[in-house]
């Protein structure tokens, strides 16, 4: 077995070990928190597979995770950090709504395209601004992506509660975009929509960009060793702005797809931790854009299981977050990596 193969396998086994450990902890927690652990376990692990409806809804919930996972993986590949996923998804969704209600008479394809472009631009500019701050004044993008995102979340919440609120709805949400802009449902009555195809295409596109183009090569070179890349004649300054622009663009696109594929409007808890989950998805995928697809599916499965357990049994949804934290903790453990490499060496 050559060295690269071995590294890849050890890396895969580390991810697998982290996931199995999180499953073990899930079982333990359910025994602690549930009065009826048998039932809770049944729904937690099998709930997403019990009906076509549940299965397709799980697939649907993997769509935004693919977009955020791709966005974060792209940033990590380029050696920048994007902690502002929440705000970028949210602004993508809000701008999608605004564009949708601004061009109600547009032809369908054009309208959808404008909505998606608006969301992408919103997320991209928000993250790209942090890139500009990093490039121009060396202000840590790790801090500014988070801080700007948090501020923007409050602003958008204000807009949804106030100026953009739909007065005809009982629930607190923004006005809705025209129904004919909504993406096609692939398997009604489930929510699965053609945004899934867009997400898969995006994964392919990001993979191609990162691994098959000169730009991608320069991005990765700046990401793995900025000094070295500079000596190699790469203009590393621009590789603070561009990767964040693209990263935020992908997350923002994810927000717009949530609107145009699933919700038709924007509401206060639309992001639901997607920005953070995208980081976990990218880490599980080891920052490989193609691996983001199965990683997002796995993550969607974990959340769907928790939802099924919440509806059919007596645990709260936040149980999923604890289990996700366990994956987060263990996924980068180098001790596990070293252990598996020793084992593979025999």
């Amino acid at each position: 077995m050559n060295r690269n193969r071995q590294l890849g396998l050890a890396s895969f086994l580390t991810v697998l070990a982290a996931i199995l450990a999180s499953f073990a902890i899930a079982v333990a927690l359910i025994f602690v928190f549930s009065k009826n652990p048998g039932q809770t376990l049944y729904y937690y692990f099998l709930g997403p597979f019990l009906s076509r409806y549940a299965l397709f809804n799980m697939l649907e919930s993997s769509v935004p995770l693919m977009f955020t996972g791709l966005g974060i993986a792209l940033a990590f590949n380029s050696g920048v950090t994007n902690l502002g996923g929440e705000g970028q998804i949210f602004s993508g969704a809000l701008v999608a709504v605004v564009v949708g209600i601004a061009v109600p008479a547009a032809p369908r394809a054009l309208g959808v395209l404008a909505i998606l472009a608006g969301g992408t631009l919103a997320g991209g500019l928000l993250a790209g601004f942090s890139g500009v701050l990093r490039r121009r004044w060396n202000v840590s993008e790790l801090l500014t992506t988070y801080l700007l995102s948090s501020g923007v979340v409050y602003v958008i919440n204000y807009l949804i509660l106030g100026p953009l609120r739909n007065p005809q709805k009982m629930t607190i949400e923004s006005v809705s975009i025209p129904a004919w802009f909504m993406l096609a449902r692939l398997a009604p009555p489930s929510f699965l929509h053609s945004g899934l195809l867009l997400a898969l295409a995006a994964a392919g596109a990001v993979y191609f960009l990162v691994y098959r183009t000169h730009l991608g090569y320069e991005l990765r070179a700046s990401g793995s060793n900025r000094q070295f890349a500079r000596y190699g004649g790469i203009n590393v300054g621009q590789y603070f702005v561009l990767p964040l622009l693209l990263s935020g663009g992908l997350t923002g696109l994810g927000g717009a797809v949530q609107v145009v594929g699933r919700y038709q409007s924007c509401f206060t808890d639309l992001t639901a931790g997607l920005g953070w989950n995208g980081i976990a998805v990218a880490l599980i995928a080891r920052n490989n854009p193609l691996a983001v697809v199965p990683a997002a599916l796995l993550y969607a499965y974990l959340s769907a299981g928790a939802k099924a357990a919440m509806i059919n049994s007596d645990v709260t949804f936040e149980l999923a977050a604890i289990i996700q934290a366990v994956i987060f903790y263990l996924i980068t453990a180098e001790a596990a990596m070293a252990f598996f490499r020793r084992r593979l060496n025999g």
Partner: protein, 328 residues
Amino acid sequence: MSLQAIGDTIAIMTPFLLAATGGLFSSLAGMLNIALEGLMLNSAFFSVVFTVATGNLFLGVLAGVAATLLLTAVFGGIALGLRANIFICGLATNLLAAALSIVLSFKIYGQTGSVTFPGMPTLEPLVIPGISSIPVLGELLSGHNLLTYLSWVLLGAAYLVIYRLPFGMRLRAVGQDPEASRALGINVRGMHIAALLISGFACALGGASLTLTLGAFVPNVTSGRGWIALVIIYLGNRTPLGILIGSLVFGFVEYLSNLLQTTSSIPAGLLLAMPFFATVLALILYAVLESRLARRRAPLGAGAPAAKAGADAAQEPAEGPPEGSPER
């Protein structure tokens, strides 16, 4: 600005000051501890739970500290022991603390939202006899709660420990050059563990000061204060005095945001965003000022490289995840 405003600012800055003082230790040891937020939140929850259960504030704070030291041990144990990326482990800790508080709140009180406890003892203002009679100073420095006083004591203690004790010398040495420190016989791993536990302890007090004055637990009650504390450490040049000034500034921003909610027609929802944007603005101003100063200090014609060096030094605390793990 009235005396009252300054007094209120001093009270509001307590959680910032405590979290930043704690984070200063991990930062000086060369670790980017982004778990300050989660550590605070953890204690904010547990200190309320145990204060309600025992009816005793002291026991409540003690339990909050104990629970948070435990969480810090998990965080540090995985980051240092299993050599996992400390930045990602920090994110995990924030996620875990938020989820744990809600899951347990549901288990104990049957609620996932805010829980108020009308009869619960809360931290009351203490009047210090000697100081309260001094004209201006008395009004500013007296009449705060015990944890606020404790935050000042801790800041002073931090100064002494960092600059006057061998422990502090070793801590800074480890942060500057772990390899050389190891060669000198310093226990690098031990220093890292100690620094994390100190930051956990201080964050625990900071979290308790949030909810024990409130008499309630609100999900995500820390609302970004741990992150702002990170910025305070960075802007304060990683010195105790800088942290004090930074905490005053951000305490004042929050005071202003609170004040405007009651006195202005600016919607409350927008004012909640203010501290975050103010923090970004402060980061930018600091960076601009620093590059200006660096350019002025540099000899003629050598402006650009000198400015670059200053910027590089300022960048130091931010270690991204891909290369991550500053330890080793």
